[in-house]
Amino acid sequence: MTEWLALILVVMMLAAALAVVLVPNLVGAIAASSAVSLVVAVIFVVLRAPDVAMTEAAVGAGLSAAVLGLGVRRLGLWKLNEGKKDDA
């Protein structure tokens, strides 16, 4: 059962990772990247590595989103195209 769960989670992680690359909007890409690290943390939990999962959760969920968001804003690449659709 654990193998199947891990396989489904890996597919989800790959979908989110593809979204990071394919989404043209940087804000959406940051959201997708935080989702990637989120699913990776669950994969580590399912594979019974709680310490690695905790590190991944700490760095991936909180800090990378904060650092990426502030960095993108500082660089002036921060745009929201609310009107148009940016389908991946």
């Binding site: 909007n25 804000v27 959201a31 989702a35 669950v42 989103a65 968001g69 940016d86």
Partner: protein, 88 residues
């Protein structure tokens, strides 16, 4: 561990919630939709990690859920701050 039908149904609903959140994250028409989806997804995943900890009958995994809940909030607030300051 043997699960009874109620628990199986609960696990299926939890997985469905994660899949629906991921759908909104991948599909979301605008960037802010993806942010909202990532925020909600992080809370759902916190609950899911607690359930996995119960399935494995090991309290170690609760720490992962705690760290995850705390840092997902930090990431959300950081992204919101960047979004506020991002207007020109």
């Amino acid at each position: 561990m043997n699960l009874n039908p109620i628990e199986n149904l609960a696990l299926a609903l939890l997985g469905g919630a994660v899949l629906l959140g991921l759908y909104r994250l991948l599909r979301g028409p605008s960037a802010v939709d993806r942010l909202v989806a990532a925020d909600t997804l992080s809370v759902v995943i916190t609950g899911a990690i607690v359930v996995v900890a119960w399935l494995f009958a090991s309290a170690l995994y609760l720490d992962v859920a705690l760290v995850y809940g705390v840092l997902a909030f930090v990431g959300t607030v950081a992204m919101a701050r960047a979004l506020e300051g991002g207007r020109s």
